[in-house]
Protein backbone atom coordinates (compact mmCIF):
# COMPACT_ATOMS: atom_id res chain seq x y z
CA UNK A 1 0.00 0.00 0.00
CA UNK A 2 1.43 3.35 -0.93
CA UNK A 3 -1.50 5.73 -0.51
CA UNK A 4 -2.16 7.67 2.66
CA UNK A 5 -5.53 7.34 4.36
CA UNK A 6 -4.84 10.48 6.40
CA UNK A 7 -2.05 12.98 6.06
CA UNK A 8 -1.81 15.95 8.42
CA UNK A 9 0.64 18.82 7.96
CA UNK A 10 1.08 21.33 10.76
CA UNK A 11 -2.54 20.76 11.70
CA UNK A 12 -3.87 23.05 14.42
CA UNK A 13 -7.27 23.70 15.92
CA UNK A 14 -8.35 26.34 18.40
CA UNK A 15 -11.97 26.42 19.55
CA UNK A 16 -11.73 29.96 20.90
CA UNK A 17 -9.23 32.39 22.31
CA UNK A 18 -9.72 31.38 25.90
CA UNK A 19 -9.69 27.61 25.60
CA UNK A 20 -6.25 27.26 24.09
CA UNK A 21 -5.50 24.93 21.23
CA UNK A 22 -6.93 21.43 20.99
CA UNK A 23 -4.31 20.54 18.38
CA UNK A 24 -1.17 22.34 17.39
CA UNK A 25 1.47 21.66 14.78
CA UNK A 26 0.26 18.11 14.36
CA UNK A 27 1.93 16.26 11.46
CA UNK A 28 1.66 12.58 10.64
CA UNK A 29 0.68 10.14 7.93
CA UNK A 30 -1.52 7.05 8.24
CA UNK A 31 -0.96 4.59 5.36
CA UNK A 32 -4.08 3.07 3.81
CA UNK A 33 -5.18 -0.40 4.90
CA UNK A 34 -4.11 -0.04 8.52
CA UNK A 35 -6.11 -0.51 11.67
CA UNK A 36 -4.98 2.32 13.85
CA UNK A 37 -5.40 2.87 17.57
CA UNK A 38 -5.70 6.55 18.38
CA UNK A 39 -4.84 6.79 22.04
CA UNK A 40 -4.12 9.51 24.55
CA UNK A 41 -5.45 10.97 27.78
CA UNK A 42 -8.74 12.86 28.05
CA UNK A 43 -8.52 16.21 26.31
CA UNK A 44 -5.52 15.15 24.23
CA UNK A 45 -7.16 16.14 20.95
CA UNK A 46 -8.28 12.71 19.73
CA UNK A 47 -11.88 13.70 19.00
CA UNK A 48 -10.78 16.96 17.40
CA UNK A 49 -8.41 15.08 15.13
CA UNK A 50 -11.13 12.65 14.03
CA UNK A 51 -13.66 15.44 13.44
CA UNK A 52 -11.09 17.33 11.33
CA UNK A 53 -10.37 14.22 9.25
CA UNK A 54 -14.12 13.71 8.80
CA UNK A 55 -14.45 17.28 7.55
CA UNK A 56 -16.84 18.30 10.32
CA UNK A 57 -14.40 20.88 11.64
CA UNK A 58 -12.25 23.27 9.67
CA UNK A 59 -8.65 23.54 10.92
CA UNK A 60 -7.42 26.91 12.15
CA UNK A 61 -3.87 26.04 11.02
CA UNK A 62 -2.27 23.62 8.62
CA UNK A 63 -4.10 21.02 6.58
CA UNK A 64 -5.38 17.48 6.60
CA UNK A 65 -5.85 15.35 3.51
CA UNK A 66 -7.94 12.21 3.50
CA UNK A 67 -7.69 9.43 0.88
CA UNK A 68 -5.75 11.81 -1.34
CA UNK A 69 -8.24 14.68 -1.31
CA UNK A 70 -9.82 17.18 1.05
CA UNK A 71 -12.09 15.76 3.75
CA UNK A 72 -15.10 17.38 2.03
CA UNK A 73 -14.30 15.74 -1.32
CA UNK A 74 -13.72 12.38 0.35
CA UNK A 75 -16.92 12.45 2.40
CA UNK A 76 -18.67 9.73 0.40
CA UNK A 77 -15.74 7.39 1.06
CA UNK A 78 -15.51 8.04 4.82
CA UNK A 79 -17.68 6.81 7.66
CA UNK A 80 -17.42 8.76 10.89
CA UNK A 81 -19.02 7.67 14.14
CA UNK A 82 -18.85 10.43 16.73
CA UNK A 83 -18.49 9.70 20.40
CA UNK A 84 -22.10 10.61 21.25
CA UNK A 85 -23.47 8.53 18.33
CA UNK A 86 -25.72 11.23 16.84
CA UNK A 87 -28.85 9.69 15.31
CA UNK A 88 -32.38 10.98 14.71
CA UNK A 89 -34.25 10.18 17.93
CA UNK A 90 -37.72 10.12 16.32
CA UNK A 91 -36.81 7.64 13.58
CA UNK A 92 -37.22 3.93 14.12
CA UNK A 93 -34.33 1.52 13.65
CA UNK A 94 -35.80 0.41 10.31
CA UNK A 95 -36.27 4.06 9.17
CA UNK A 96 -32.69 4.86 10.12
CA UNK A 97 -31.36 1.97 8.06
CA UNK A 98 -33.63 2.96 5.18
CA UNK A 99 -32.19 6.49 5.35
CA UNK A 100 -28.69 5.01 5.32
CA UNK A 101 -29.53 3.15 2.13
CA UNK A 102 -31.13 6.22 0.51
CA UNK A 103 -28.22 8.50 1.39
CA UNK A 104 -25.56 6.08 0.13
CA UNK A 105 -27.21 4.61 -2.96
CA UNK A 106 -23.96 3.81 -4.76
CA UNK A 107 -22.31 1.79 -2.03
CA UNK A 108 -24.99 0.65 0.45
CA UNK A 109 -24.41 -2.92 1.60
CA UNK A 110 -27.57 -4.05 3.28
CA UNK A 111 -26.13 -7.38 4.41
CA UNK A 112 -23.25 -5.65 6.20
CA UNK A 113 -25.64 -3.25 7.97
CA UNK A 114 -28.03 -6.05 8.91
CA UNK A 115 -25.24 -8.16 10.36
CA UNK A 116 -24.74 -5.50 13.01
CA UNK A 117 -28.27 -4.08 13.34
CA UNK A 118 -30.02 -7.46 13.14
CA UNK A 119 -30.51 -7.96 16.89
CA UNK A 120 -32.10 -4.49 17.32
CA UNK A 121 -35.91 -4.10 17.60
CA UNK A 122 -36.64 -2.80 14.08
CA UNK A 123 -39.77 -0.82 15.02
CA UNK A 124 -38.30 0.85 18.11
CA UNK A 125 -37.64 4.57 17.99
CA UNK A 126 -34.00 5.55 18.33
CA UNK A 127 -34.73 7.60 21.47
CA UNK A 128 -35.90 4.47 23.29
CA UNK A 129 -32.68 2.55 22.56
CA UNK A 130 -29.99 1.98 25.18
CA UNK A 131 -26.51 3.43 24.71
CA UNK A 132 -25.16 0.11 23.49
CA UNK A 133 -28.04 -0.32 21.03
CA UNK A 134 -27.43 3.16 19.62
CA UNK A 135 -23.77 2.26 19.15
CA UNK A 136 -24.84 -0.85 17.26
CA UNK A 137 -27.09 1.18 14.99
CA UNK A 138 -24.42 3.83 14.37
CA UNK A 139 -21.86 1.13 13.49
CA UNK A 140 -24.42 -0.56 11.22
CA UNK A 141 -24.80 2.70 9.28
CA UNK A 142 -21.03 3.10 9.08
CA UNK A 143 -20.49 -0.47 7.82
CA UNK A 144 -23.46 -0.34 5.44
CA UNK A 145 -21.90 2.66 3.73
CA UNK A 146 -18.94 0.39 2.87
CA UNK A 147 -16.41 3.20 3.33
CA UNK A 148 -12.70 3.14 2.53
CA UNK A 149 -11.93 4.85 5.82
CA UNK A 150 -13.77 4.43 9.11
CA UNK A 151 -13.22 7.05 11.81
CA UNK A 152 -14.60 5.73 15.09
CA UNK A 153 -14.50 7.89 18.19
CA UNK A 154 -14.58 5.67 21.29
CA UNK A 155 -16.75 3.13 19.45
CA UNK A 156 -16.77 0.46 22.13
CA UNK A 157 -17.17 2.57 25.28
CA UNK A 158 -20.76 1.62 26.14
CA UNK A 159 -20.81 -1.98 24.94
CA UNK A 160 -20.72 -5.06 27.15
CA UNK A 161 -17.67 -7.33 26.72
CA UNK A 162 -19.52 -9.90 24.61
CA UNK A 163 -20.91 -7.35 22.14
CA UNK A 164 -17.59 -5.50 22.10
CA UNK A 165 -15.80 -8.67 21.05
CA UNK A 166 -18.45 -9.48 18.46
CA UNK A 167 -18.46 -6.01 16.89
CA UNK A 168 -14.67 -5.80 16.92
CA UNK A 169 -14.75 -9.12 15.04
CA UNK A 170 -17.17 -7.65 12.50
CA UNK A 171 -14.89 -4.63 11.99
CA UNK A 172 -11.83 -6.85 11.55
CA UNK A 173 -13.71 -9.04 9.05
CA UNK A 174 -14.66 -5.92 7.09
CA UNK A 175 -11.01 -4.87 7.01
CA UNK A 176 -9.88 -8.38 6.03
CA UNK A 177 -12.27 -8.51 3.12
CA UNK A 178 -12.16 -4.96 1.77
CA UNK A 179 -8.85 -3.54 3.01
CA UNK A 180 -10.75 -0.83 4.91
CA UNK A 181 -8.62 1.59 6.91
CA UNK A 182 -9.98 1.92 10.45
CA UNK A 183 -9.04 4.51 13.06
CA UNK A 184 -10.41 3.86 16.54
CA UNK A 185 -9.89 6.18 19.47
CA UNK A 186 -9.93 4.94 23.01
CA UNK A 187 -8.17 5.45 26.27
CA UNK A 188 -8.58 1.81 27.16
CA UNK A 189 -5.63 0.38 25.33
CA UNK A 190 -6.26 -3.29 26.07
CA UNK A 191 -9.44 -3.27 23.99
CA UNK A 192 -7.42 -2.23 20.95
CA UNK A 193 -4.16 -4.08 21.44
CA UNK A 194 -4.90 -7.26 19.49
CA UNK A 195 -6.90 -5.54 16.79
CA UNK A 196 -4.69 -2.63 15.80
CA UNK A 197 -1.44 -2.76 13.84
CA UNK A 198 -0.81 0.99 13.84
CA UNK A 199 -0.55 3.44 16.67
CA UNK A 200 -1.00 7.16 17.13
CA UNK A 201 -0.41 8.50 20.62
CA UNK A 202 -1.72 12.05 20.87
CA UNK A 203 -1.06 14.22 23.87
CA UNK A 204 -1.29 17.95 24.39
CA UNK A 205 -2.45 18.40 20.81
CA UNK A 206 0.59 16.71 19.24
CA UNK A 207 1.49 13.25 18.00
CA UNK A 208 4.04 11.72 20.37
CA UNK A 209 4.24 8.22 18.91
CA UNK A 210 3.17 7.20 15.43
CA UNK A 211 3.78 4.12 13.33
CA UNK A 212 3.45 0.34 13.11
CA UNK A 213 2.84 -0.96 16.66
CA UNK A 214 5.42 -3.70 16.11
CA UNK A 215 8.12 -1.26 15.02
CA UNK A 216 7.39 1.18 17.82
CA UNK A 217 7.65 -1.62 20.38
CA UNK A 218 10.84 -2.95 18.81
CA UNK A 219 12.42 0.51 19.01
CA UNK A 220 12.16 0.39 22.80
CA UNK A 221 13.43 -1.87 25.54
CA UNK A 222 12.96 -2.30 29.27
CA UNK A 223 16.34 -2.56 31.00
CA UNK A 224 16.83 -3.87 34.52
CA UNK A 225 20.18 -3.98 36.26
CA UNK A 226 22.60 -2.14 38.50
CA UNK A 227 22.48 1.63 38.51
CA UNK A 228 24.72 2.93 35.74
CA UNK A 229 24.76 5.32 32.84
CA UNK A 230 22.13 4.60 30.19
CA UNK A 231 23.87 6.52 27.40
CA UNK A 232 23.67 6.49 24.42
CA UNK A 233 20.04 5.37 24.71
CA UNK A 234 17.20 7.86 25.08
CA UNK A 235 15.61 7.37 28.49
CA UNK A 236 11.84 7.59 28.38
CA UNK A 237 11.40 6.70 32.03
CA UNK A 238 13.64 5.30 34.75
CA UNK A 239 13.22 4.24 38.37
CA UNK A 240 15.86 3.43 40.94
CA UNK A 241 15.14 1.14 43.87
CA UNK A 242 18.16 0.58 46.09
CA UNK A 243 20.89 -0.61 43.75
CA UNK A 244 18.52 -1.62 41.00
CA UNK A 245 17.59 0.51 38.04
CA UNK A 246 14.62 -0.15 35.79
CA UNK A 247 14.39 1.95 32.68
CA UNK A 248 12.33 2.11 29.53
CA UNK A 249 14.63 3.39 26.81
CA UNK A 250 14.50 4.12 23.13
CA UNK A 251 17.39 2.19 21.63
CA UNK A 252 20.21 4.15 20.04
CA UNK A 253 22.47 1.38 18.84
CA UNK A 254 23.04 -2.11 20.26
CA UNK A 255 22.15 -2.90 23.88
CA UNK A 256 24.72 -4.33 26.25
CA UNK A 257 22.87 -7.43 27.40
CA UNK A 258 25.68 -8.50 29.70
CA UNK A 259 25.03 -5.44 31.84
CA UNK A 260 21.25 -5.40 31.56
CA UNK A 261 18.35 -7.75 31.66
CA UNK A 262 16.62 -6.71 28.43
CA UNK A 263 12.93 -7.24 27.63
CA UNK A 264 10.54 -5.76 25.11
CA UNK A 265 7.86 -3.58 26.72
CA UNK A 266 4.16 -4.30 26.32
CA UNK A 267 2.19 -1.68 24.43
CA UNK A 268 0.59 -0.60 27.67
CA UNK A 269 3.92 -0.19 29.48
CA UNK A 270 5.20 1.84 26.56
CA UNK A 271 2.22 4.19 26.49
CA UNK A 272 2.11 4.67 30.24
CA UNK A 273 5.84 5.44 30.32
CA UNK A 274 5.37 8.10 27.62
CA UNK A 275 2.35 9.61 29.35
CA UNK A 276 4.28 9.86 32.62
CA UNK A 277 7.24 11.48 30.85
CA UNK A 278 5.97 14.41 28.79
CA UNK A 279 9.54 15.47 28.00
CA UNK A 280 10.37 12.26 26.09
CA UNK A 281 10.92 13.13 22.41
CA UNK A 282 8.33 12.17 19.81
CA UNK A 283 8.90 9.11 17.63
CA UNK A 284 7.37 8.65 14.20
CA UNK A 285 8.37 5.65 12.10
CA UNK A 286 9.17 6.44 8.42
CA UNK A 287 5.70 5.45 7.22
CA UNK A 288 4.09 7.79 9.74
CA UNK A 289 6.04 10.89 8.77
CA UNK A 290 4.13 13.48 6.80
CA UNK A 291 5.92 14.35 3.61
CA UNK A 292 6.97 17.96 3.20
CA UNK A 293 4.39 19.89 1.26
CA UNK A 294 6.55 20.39 -1.85
CA UNK A 295 6.92 16.62 -2.17
CA UNK A 296 3.17 16.17 -1.93
CA UNK A 297 2.63 18.63 -4.75
CA UNK A 298 5.35 17.00 -6.84
CA UNK A 299 4.05 13.46 -6.30
Amino acid sequence: MTGAAIEANGLGMAYGRRRGRALSDCSFRLPAGRICALVGPNGAGKSTLLALAAGLLRPTEGSVRVLGSTPAEARARIAYVAQDKPLYPQLTVADTLWAGAELNPATWDRAAADRVAGPLPQDAKVRTLSGGQRTRLALALALGKRPELMLLDEPMADLDPLVRHQLMGVLMAEAAEHGTTIVMSSHILTELEGACDYLLLVEGGRVRLGGESEDILAAHAVLTGQVRDLAPHTVVESRTTGRQLTALVRKEGPLDDTAWDVTEPSLEELLLAHLRSPEAPALLTPSARARAREEVVAA
Binding site: G169, A173, G194
Partner: protein, 136 residues
Protein backbone atom coordinates in the same frame (compact mmCIF):
# COMPACT_ATOMS: atom_id res chain seq x y z
CA UNK B 1 -19.61 -20.79 1.72
CA UNK B 2 -17.26 -23.64 0.86
CA UNK B 3 -16.71 -26.60 3.12
CA UNK B 4 -16.03 -25.37 6.64
CA UNK B 5 -12.52 -25.16 8.01
CA UNK B 6 -11.07 -28.06 9.96
CA UNK B 7 -9.89 -26.13 13.02
CA UNK B 8 -10.44 -22.91 14.89
CA UNK B 9 -7.92 -20.88 16.83
CA UNK B 10 -8.05 -19.73 20.45
CA UNK B 11 -6.23 -16.51 21.17
CA UNK B 12 -5.01 -15.87 24.70
CA UNK B 13 -4.10 -12.21 25.00
CA UNK B 14 -2.47 -12.59 28.39
CA UNK B 15 -0.18 -15.47 27.49
CA UNK B 16 2.72 -13.22 26.52
CA UNK B 17 3.13 -15.26 23.33
CA UNK B 18 2.78 -13.15 20.17
CA UNK B 19 -0.64 -13.66 18.60
CA UNK B 20 0.70 -14.84 15.23
CA UNK B 21 2.88 -17.40 17.03
CA UNK B 22 -0.15 -18.75 18.88
CA UNK B 23 -1.76 -19.45 15.50
CA UNK B 24 1.45 -21.07 14.20
CA UNK B 25 1.80 -23.22 17.32
CA UNK B 26 -1.84 -24.28 17.37
CA UNK B 27 -1.67 -25.26 13.71
CA UNK B 28 1.47 -27.32 14.32
CA UNK B 29 -0.09 -28.98 17.34
CA UNK B 30 -3.15 -29.89 15.25
CA UNK B 31 -0.82 -31.32 12.58
CA UNK B 32 1.08 -33.38 15.15
CA UNK B 33 -2.09 -34.77 16.64
CA UNK B 34 -3.60 -35.56 13.26
CA UNK B 35 -6.47 -33.11 13.78
CA UNK B 36 -5.31 -31.44 10.57
CA UNK B 37 -4.44 -33.60 7.59
CA UNK B 38 -3.06 -32.85 4.13
CA UNK B 39 -5.74 -31.25 1.98
CA UNK B 40 -7.60 -29.67 4.91
CA UNK B 41 -8.43 -26.01 4.56
CA UNK B 42 -7.36 -23.57 7.25
CA UNK B 43 -9.94 -20.94 8.18
CA UNK B 44 -9.75 -17.79 6.04
CA UNK B 45 -8.36 -14.60 7.57
CA UNK B 46 -11.88 -13.25 7.59
CA UNK B 47 -13.20 -16.26 9.52
CA UNK B 48 -10.40 -16.06 12.07
CA UNK B 49 -10.70 -12.33 12.73
CA UNK B 50 -14.47 -12.41 12.89
CA UNK B 51 -14.27 -15.05 15.63
CA UNK B 52 -11.29 -13.68 17.54
CA UNK B 53 -11.35 -9.89 16.88
CA UNK B 54 -7.62 -9.85 16.10
CA UNK B 55 -5.95 -7.94 13.29
CA UNK B 56 -6.18 -9.56 9.82
CA UNK B 57 -2.49 -8.99 9.15
CA UNK B 58 -1.67 -11.12 12.20
CA UNK B 59 -3.42 -14.10 10.63
CA UNK B 60 -1.72 -13.52 7.28
CA UNK B 61 1.66 -13.31 9.02
CA UNK B 62 1.04 -16.66 10.74
CA UNK B 63 -0.02 -18.28 7.46
CA UNK B 64 3.05 -16.90 5.67
CA UNK B 65 5.22 -18.43 8.37
CA UNK B 66 3.49 -21.82 8.00
CA UNK B 67 3.86 -21.56 4.23
CA UNK B 68 7.55 -20.70 4.56
CA UNK B 69 8.00 -23.89 6.58
CA UNK B 70 6.29 -25.85 3.81
CA UNK B 71 3.39 -26.95 6.00
CA UNK B 72 0.61 -25.19 4.12
CA UNK B 73 0.07 -23.60 0.74
CA UNK B 74 -2.12 -20.73 -0.35
CA UNK B 75 -4.24 -21.46 -3.39
CA UNK B 76 -5.41 -18.26 -4.97
CA UNK B 77 -9.10 -17.61 -4.44
CA UNK B 78 -9.58 -20.93 -2.66
CA UNK B 79 -7.84 -20.60 0.66
CA UNK B 80 -4.89 -21.99 2.56
CA UNK B 81 -4.47 -25.76 2.57
CA UNK B 82 -2.41 -28.23 4.57
CA UNK B 83 0.42 -29.77 2.54
CA UNK B 84 1.88 -32.26 4.96
CA UNK B 85 1.70 -33.50 8.51
CA UNK B 86 4.24 -32.75 11.16
CA UNK B 87 6.44 -35.18 13.01
CA UNK B 88 6.31 -38.89 12.58
CA UNK B 89 3.00 -40.64 12.16
CA UNK B 90 4.15 -42.65 15.18
CA UNK B 91 2.89 -39.84 17.42
CA UNK B 92 -0.67 -40.86 16.75
CA UNK B 93 -0.43 -44.28 15.15
CA UNK B 94 2.17 -46.04 17.26
CA UNK B 95 0.47 -47.05 20.49
CA UNK B 96 3.52 -49.04 21.76
CA UNK B 97 5.68 -45.88 22.08
CA UNK B 98 2.90 -44.08 23.86
CA UNK B 99 2.26 -47.06 26.13
CA UNK B 100 5.96 -47.27 27.05
CA UNK B 101 6.03 -43.58 27.89
CA UNK B 102 2.86 -43.93 29.95
CA UNK B 103 4.40 -46.87 31.82
CA UNK B 104 7.62 -44.93 32.44
CA UNK B 105 5.60 -41.93 33.68
CA UNK B 106 3.72 -44.17 36.12
CA UNK B 107 7.02 -45.52 37.48
CA UNK B 108 8.39 -41.98 37.86
CA UNK B 109 5.32 -40.99 39.82
CA UNK B 110 5.54 -44.08 41.99
CA UNK B 111 9.16 -43.14 42.71
CA UNK B 112 7.88 -39.90 44.25
CA UNK B 113 8.41 -37.42 41.38
CA UNK B 114 5.73 -34.80 40.91
CA UNK B 115 4.53 -33.49 37.54
CA UNK B 116 7.13 -30.71 37.34
CA UNK B 117 9.95 -33.12 38.24
CA UNK B 118 8.86 -35.54 35.53
CA UNK B 119 8.53 -32.75 33.01
CA UNK B 120 11.99 -31.38 33.86
CA UNK B 121 13.56 -34.84 33.63
CA UNK B 122 11.84 -35.58 30.33
CA UNK B 123 12.87 -32.21 28.84
CA UNK B 124 16.45 -32.77 29.96
CA UNK B 125 16.65 -36.20 28.31
CA UNK B 126 14.89 -34.82 25.24
CA UNK B 127 17.40 -31.99 24.94
CA UNK B 128 20.45 -34.22 25.29
CA UNK B 129 19.04 -36.82 22.88
CA UNK B 130 18.30 -34.30 20.15
CA UNK B 131 21.35 -32.13 20.77
CA UNK B 132 22.86 -30.96 17.49
CA UNK B 133 19.79 -31.94 15.53
CA UNK B 134 19.05 -29.03 13.15
CA UNK B 135 15.33 -29.18 13.87
CA UNK B 136 15.61 -28.85 17.63
Amino acid sequence: MAESAAVEFRIDRRSGVATYLQIVQQTKQALRLGVLEPGDRLPTAREVVEATAINPNTVLKAYRELEREGLVEARRGLGTFVRRTLGSAAVTTDPPLRAELAEWTRRARAAGLDKDDVSALFTDVLDSTFKGDPHS
